[in-house]
């Protein structure tokens, strides 16, 4: 199944995609899985996401994120160069807003 990547604006800016990807209501960006190829093969997607502090979403989750029905917090990036100064250090949690 295809995956969508929720990433910080810093990652989107790093990839030069801020102008061509949808910005979510919490300020983060929704990227396509192949955008991660700049960081490494998709077979290593889990470690890539850990390194840059992003999460992988199913199409359904991505739709809910875009609609504002779901907000998935991003983990702290293992690689310090991808730390977003604006983000608060917080463990990864998932919140589902009530309709």
């Amino acid at each position: 199944m295809a995956r969508y990547i929720k990433a910080t604006p810093k990652i989107a800016e790093y990839l030069g995609l801020t102008g061509v990807r949808n910005k979510l209501k919490d300020g983060n960006y929704l990227l396509w899985q192949a955008d991660m190829l700049k960081f490494g093969p998709l077979a290593d997607l889990a470690s890539t996401l850990s390194k840059i502090g992003a999460v992988s979403l199913t199409p359904e989750q991505a739709k809910q994120e875009q609609d504002g029905k779901l907000t998935t917090d991003l983990p702290e990036p293992a690689d310090s160069q991808f730390e977003d100064s604006a983000s608060e250090p917080e463990a990864s949690t998932t919140k589902t807003k009530e309709a």
């Binding site: 295809a2 061509v20 396509w32 955008d35």
Partner: protein
């Protein structure tokens, strides 16, 4: 300078105010710019491809352009052989940038209020378009760029046009297949076949019947002009009725006319809301045609005594009509049987119609006492039933508003 020399040297200019002996000779000149060499292409920006796939089993597009848009960047560049203009991109200098989309043969301009697209009108990325809608698997979208570039050396306007096809393949593991429990073409013989035919639709995903909650059948019939309408929306649909669950279409073939074209399309939604689905050319579909046809009949057989009593005022012959399957039991349901009698003369007999039906009583008034008479029968197809109309073409109905049907 003679007039002949003037004609031979049209580029030269002569001053009439000067005398011939002090004339100044001039000649016009201008820059002859070469035509600009234009190069143009459209490229996909980023990793989102320009081809989607659609999985109806999960109602999922991959990639989903509403989540990660497709970005197309037209690239236009020039090479000036004269070296006046710098070679390279002219995107920032493009004017009158317009995009059009063609879907199903219909071309429309993409305007700024169309939220499915975002067009960049200025800057180095001028002409860029973001596609934020998904493509119907059966209806690829052709995007067409129209822009203009002004050659500042000459004022010449270059028109730049490029097209890009965006399509969606169907990646459904089990594509829903609609089928009807009838042949594609059915011949209806009103003398042999039962009038009512029930057609049942079935939507299957692979080996399994699709759950009723995921699909909705839409039955349609064709008008004489070839257009289709949903059954029940036309006054001439009196020969058809749809079951409450939509799976069966009951056709009274004795009322359908000479032929009936019926089709069924399915709205299918894996999410369980099929009524929200718009029918399209890619919707599952099945069709059937029913044609009324009476096959060739054997010559009818008249059974009647050759000699009748002198005082008989009428005779009642027995008629037998056969087809390839044998005697037809009730031929008057579809056949018109007309009886004639004529005096038996050496000249061509002059027949008079005197009765009709399978049990006629034929008067013997034309039977000559010397030469006798001739009885004839004519068997004709009554023709298909139809709605009755007056001389103005207006349909006639009874007191309940039901159409009057005649044969």
């Amino acid at each position: 300078m003679t007039e002949l020399e003037r004609k031979r040297n049209p580029g030269r200019q002569y001053s009439d105010t000067k005398k011939d002996n002090d004339m100044i000779i001039t000649k016009g000149l201008n820059f002859a710019f070469h035509t600009l060499a234009l190069n143009k292409s459209i490229t996909v920006i980023g990793s989102v491809p320009d081809t989607q796939s659609y999985d109806a089993d999960n109602d999922t597009y991959t990639p989903d352009y509403t989540l990660t848009p497709l970005t197309l960047q037209p690239l236009a560049g020039i090479i000036d052989k004269d070296g006046v203009l710098q070679a390279g991109s002219i995107n920032a200098k493009l004017i009158n940038i317009r995009w059009y989309q063609t879907v199903g043969g219909i071309r429309t301009q993409i305007t700024t209020d169309n939220t499915d697209f975002v067009i960049t009108q200025s800057g180095d990325n001028a002409g860029r378009i973001m596609v934020k809608k998904n493509i119907d698997p059966g209806s690829p979208v052709t995007l067409e760029l129209h822009a203009e570039y002004m050659d500042i050396r000459t004022g010449h306007l270059y028109v730049i046009q490029m097209t890009k096809l965006i399509r969606c393949t169907n990646a459904t593991l089990y594509i829903p297949i609609l089928s009807l429990d009838t042949a594609d073409q059915v011949l209806y013989n009103p003398l042999r076949d039962q009038d009512v035919q029930v057609i049942t639709a079935s939507l299957r995903r692979g080996p399994d019947e699709c759950p009723a909650s995921l699909r909705l059948f839409v039955w349609e019939a064709a008008r004489d002009d070839g257009s289709w309408h949903e059954v029940g929306q036309d006054v001439f649909d009196y020969c058809m009725s749809i079951s409450s669950d939509g799976t069966k279409c009951t056709v009274d073939r004795s009322l359908m006319g000479d032929e009936l074209h019926v089709r069924c399309r399915a709205k299918y939604d894996i999410g369980g809301n099929p009524s929200s689905v718009e029918l399209s050319s890619s919707s599952p579909i099945a069709m059937a045609t029913i044609k009324r046809r009476i096959p060739a009949l054997d010559p009818p057989e008249i059974v009647m005594p050759y000699n009748i009593p002198p005082m008989a005022t009428a005779v009642s012959p027995k008629l037998t009509i056969r087809d390839t399957l044998g005697i037809i039991d009730n031929p008057e349901t579809a056949l018109l049987i007309l009886w004639y009698i004529a005096t038996n003369t050496a000249a061509t007999p002059s027949y008079t119609q005197v009765a009709e039906g399978m049990s006629p009583s034929i008067p013997t008034g034309l039977v000559d006492s010397q030469n006798g008479g001739i009885i004839a029968v004519d068997v004709e197809d009554q023709g298909a039933a139809g709605a009755m109309a007056d001389e103005n073409g207006d349909l006639l109905s009874d007191e309940n508003g039901d159409l009057l049907i005649i044969k």
